[in-house]
């Protein structure tokens, strides 16, 4: 488990994401991110380099309709 981010860390991350939120919305972001962080920590495991994600590009899906 990584070290939990502080509220200030979360505000900084939000600004980096372009979220300059009104103060009234910051508590909900901070609380929600706490839950997200726990999930992210759980999926952050070492994987082989060739381990492909589920969304690899399928070229046939983009063939022009008239083909």
């Amino acid at each position: 488990m990584t070290k939990p981010p502080t509220d200030e860390d979360i505000v900084r991350l939000a600004r980096q994401a372009g979220l300059d939120l009104p103060a009234e919305f910051m508590p909900e972001l901070i609380e929600a991110y706490g839950h997200v962080r726990q999930m992210v920590d759980r999926v952050s495991v070492a994987r082989p380099r060739g381990d492909e994600p589920a969304h690899v590009f399928v070229a046939s899906a983009f063939k022009p309709v008239t083909d």
Partner: protein
């Protein structure tokens, strides 16, 4: 004949063929019930009465002079208010889309219209099919027709409530983590999340591109099969659409499940996400019905439910944030609090984390298919019976394990059917999950179960 609005698609189409009922009579019966009773349920956000009457009249004339276009010809249906309807407002219950009038129909609507269906209107949902129930969005949340103080679940809430209430025999919803199956379960009807890519999502407002599924809800599995026959098929305008042969789903409904092998994910149900004792008792009784019909039941071990939930939610909030980023940055106050809470942290998820979740999805989907190679179907409860319609903690999305989301991660077809009623008269539900593109076996099992049990004989009273 009983109240025409309570007829199934199959029953109504047979009566049309015998000239014992007309599309106009059926449509008027549905419109009458909506007009007089939907103020109790708020299941519709828009009623297209004028269009419905015109389509019903046209269908009636066509059926009188030639063969029907399909079993849906002349049958009224409605759509979750995230399906684009040209010239008709499509809001997703959001203040952000209060004035959104699409110029083109969704692919599914094109198919339903071409099959001769009669559009009654648009159904209430959760905001953008994700955040709810909410009282700070464009329309109030739908209510459960079995008990109006209870929730119809979400996000295809109005769709399921409308079918159960006898406002329409058919509707379409969408399912990203259970949004067809959970409302179907809460309202005691049948709802199918088809295999990912079987039904086009073109013209359906997105929730999470890689896990969104459009699908049918109806009173019976037989009707679900009729609807699926119409909407399934390749659409080159949906990059996720798959070009596969579409079988005759109705012919799969043989009533025979003898020899089928049913897997039950026992560790999920005993340790990881144990349902209540009454829900498990209803589930065990449903398994006994299948045993009595000649199927066998065996335990199976799936990957931990928490892994499915983690993969699903990280992917979903990342895609959701991207979809809504511009509005979240410029006018966050226009979102309902529930949706905003559930997606805003998606902006802080790193690309690395999203890709890791996608890698986990690959692993989980493969594991799920490997288990399904050893059995014909998986079965488990869809959800607990409906709870009260009240504000739920926004964090529940992150903290509550889901018995449905795993099959969005895997992309597998999953059907919810009614499996009895609790002591309050609220429906229990059974979830039937199949191999990829094996909707015929899923539907066969659901149909056989419904025909072997009395649950389709009971309707909510409004």
């Amino acid at each position: 004949m009983s109240e025409p609005a309570f007829l199934t698609i199959a029953e109504a189409s047979r009566l049309f063929a015998k000239r014992e009922l007309s599309p106009v009579e059926l449509t008027e019966a549905c419109l009458r019930r909506i007009e007089t009773l939907d103020s109790q349920l708020d299941s519709f956000v828009a009623v297209t009465a004028e269009r419905a009457r015109a389509e019903a009249k046209a269908a009636e004339a066509a059926i009188m002079t030639s063969r029907p276009l399909s079993r849906l010809h002349g049958i009224p249906y409605c759509l979750k208010d995230i399906f684009d309807t040209a010239g008709i407002r499509t809001t997703a219950m959001s203040k952000l889309l209060a004035d959104n009038v699409p110029t083109r129909d969704s692919h599914c609507l094109e198919k339903l219209a071409a099959a001769g269906g009669v559009l009654l209107g648009k159904n209430a949902t959760w905001e953008f099919a994700h955040g709810g129930p909410s009282w700070d969005v464009l329309f109030p949340p739908a209510r459960n027709p079995w008990d109006r103080t209870c929730s119809p679940a979400g996000s295809s809430s109005g769709s399921a409530a409308a079918v159960a209430a006898g406002f329409a025999p058919a509707t379409l919803g969408s399912d990203t983590g259970g949004s067809i199956r959970s409302p179907a379960a809460a309202c005691g009807i049948a709802g199918l999340k088809p295999t990912y890519g079987l039904v086009s999502r073109r013209g359906v407002l997105p929730n999470c591109f890689s896990q969104d599924h459009a699908g049918p809800l109806a009173w019976t599995t037989e009707d679900v099969a009729i609807l699926l026959q119409i909407i399934a098929g390749h659409d080159p305008e949906d990059p996720g659409s798959v070009d596969v042969a579409i079988p005759d789903y109705a012919s799969a409904l043989t009533g025979n499940v003898k020899g089928l092998v049913i897997g039950v994910p026992v560790p999920w149900l005993e340790k990881e996400a144990p349902p209540s004792a009454p829900t498990m008792a209803a589930f065990e009784a449903a398994l006994d019905v299948f045993r009595g019909l000649g199927a066998s039941v065996r335990p199976v071990a799936l990957p931990p439910i928490e892994q499915f939930d983690d993969a699903k939610k990280i992917i979903a909030i990342s895609e959701l944030f991207t979809i809504h980023a511009a509005d979240l940055r410029k006018r966050p106050e226009l979102f309902g609090a529930s949706l905003r809470y559930r997606i805003i942290a998606g902006g802080l998820v790193r690309a690395e984390d999203y890709i890791q979740a996608m890698r986990l999805r690959t692993e989980l989907a493969r594991s799920l298919q490997a288990v399904l190679a050893t059995v014909d179907l998986l079965m488990l409860p869809t959800a607990e019976p409906a709870g009260k319609l009240e504000t739920v903690p926004h964090s529940s999305l992150f903290t509550r394990p889901s018995l449905t989301a795993a099959f969005n991660v895997g992309g597998n077809p999953a059907l919810s059917v009614c499996s009895g009623f609790d002591t309050r008269g609220l429906p229990f539900s059974l979830q039937i999950v199949g191999r990829l593109f094996d909707e015929p076996t899923v539907l066969r099992a659901g149909d056989a179960y419904e025909k072997a049990t009395p649950w389709r004989d009971r309707r909510p009273v409004l």
